[in-house]
């Protein structure tokens, strides 16, 4: 009985945590490595962890400001973008063959280790050592 309970306990914890996502700036510098959980999308976890990724329309596929560039092997694992996402990607700055809207990238276990690079037009700045609070 104890054994079964313990295994179950470990299984629940293990399922929630899906692995790591690495956010990089346009020059390839690592901004942050984040532990992703079930149901997270890239925009939400970026905001939770103070990555400066815009989301002007708050994830409703009405803008292109959460545009990220993914590593090709992870891009290929994702389902194809729908028409509405592709319509917004048409207008994204610095669009690449492995670009997606961050709000539409749902994290799964097989995406462990994925790198999400912010495109070059995104601005990141801070006053010496002090980061502005991200809302």
């Amino acid at each position: 009985m104890l054994t079964i309970f313990k295994l179950y306990g470990t299984g629940v914890l293990h399922d929630r945590n899906l692995g790591q996502v690495h956010f990089k700036d346009s020059k390839g510098n690592l901004l942050k490595t984040i532990e992703a959980n079930e149901g997270d999308d890239l925009l939400s976890i970026a905001h939770e962890h103070d990555i400066d990724l815009e989301g002007a329309c708050e994830g409703s596929v009405a803008c292109s400001t959460c545009h990220v560039i993914l590593t090709p092997e992870h891009y290929d694992l994702l389902p194809e973008p729908e028409d509405d996402e592709n319509d917004m990607l048409d207008m994204a700055f610095g669009l690449t063959d492995t670009s997606r809207l961050g709000c539409q990238v749902q994290l799964t276990r097989e995406l462990d280790g994925m790198v999400a690079t912010l495109p070059s037009a995104t601005r990141n700045m801070f006053v010496d050592g002090k980061k502005p609070t991200h809302h």
Binding site: A56, C57, C63, D84, D87, M125, D128
Partner: protein, 460 residues
Amino acid sequence: MYDRLWAPHGLVRYGVAPDHPEVKNCTNKFDITAKDPRLRFFGNVNITTPAAASPIPHNLSLPFSSLLKNYTHLLFSSGCTIPTFHPALPPSDRCISALSFVHWYTQHPSVAHKPPPPLEKTEHVSIIGQGNVSLDVARMLLTPPSTLEKYDVPNSVLEVLRRSAVKRVSIIGRRGPLQAAFTVKELREMMNLEDAAMDPVDPALLAVPEGEKLTRQQQRTMQLLQKGSKNQPGTTPKSWSFEFFRSPTHLAPAPEDALSSTRPLSLTLAHTTLSDAKRAVPTGESSTLRTSMVVTALGHHGEPTPWYDSALGHVRTVGGRVVDEHGHTLRNVYASGWAAMGARGVLASTMMDAYAVADTILSDAFPGEFRKEDGDALGSVVPQGDVAKAAEPVLADVVESDDPPAEVEEGLREGVVTDYDGWKLVDAEEVRRGEVTGKERERMGWDEARTFLSQVKSNQ
């Protein structure tokens, strides 16, 4: 922040189409920014120069010179508010700018007491221009009012749309599908209209010229045009079409029906083709189109503010810093968005420009103090040292008080000038009134908003 509109958010409130509510989610971020006590918003204030009168009669006028005395830095983010007209189509009650149509369905303060477009007498609308504004107008004319009534469409507008006789819309452009300025999202919405079908595009116009490399947007546009509308032509009560390679030359009453109560019009269209430089040039042929109303959607330009360049259609800038007619940079005077770049670009590009100009303002004011996360010094697009010459300063070097000019303070006390807290009260009330009829909000005009706010004040 000074705005001649009494409500903040500019085009987000008075330009975005009502059936695109998700675009307006950005106002949540504006609200958060507005909570910062260092930001003050003053609405219903028009900054004047001797030349121009305000298009909004109830504005408080504040002379430009007052701003120069009371502030150390100035930023124009005043957009491009004047529609570009077609030289062959002078405005009349049957030939209106798309901007005035958009102002009508958003109840912009400048049209509050003007009559609505006479849609009950209008069967066919010709839209000149093939950008997103054209498609917004077409979509508002062709979407059933019952579909629109849950969105932020004022009741008075819905009443006119319910009486509308519009059955057909022609969207006319002087060049072809590869040069059209609309984006795929808006084109797709037209194809999916419930009650309307698109006339198929002539296949010859959908053939890609030899050796031409299409952008991603152009490819997807051609695919959509080829596929056609969800509804088959001839199966719906309404229809619409693109008329490519057509340029209007004349609009007159249709001769044979001069006495008809609906007063049909005849629009003469010159046929065009593309020159080697991809400009529209006439072929010599022409045709006429029978129509009831013409709407021109040909872009916008800025107002003649100081340092406006009429050849450019916007304020003259280099890297966000305003430049005078001699090419001299003005110290601490900036412009961003459409005011600086002309009326091009959606929210994302205007936002990026705003961030770039903010970076420039900060790095000019505090040189060397800001760094980017990757360690690079924060710079402006054009380093200040590269600027050839500086003009005489126009703004005060130092300003003692943080307060706005006295007439603005008085305006606030009298309820003529609005602030952000007042807007949030009106915002909540508009949403509350909308809930009564199951819609996003029921908009107030200035008179109603002012009355509402004075009642709230007197109840305190």
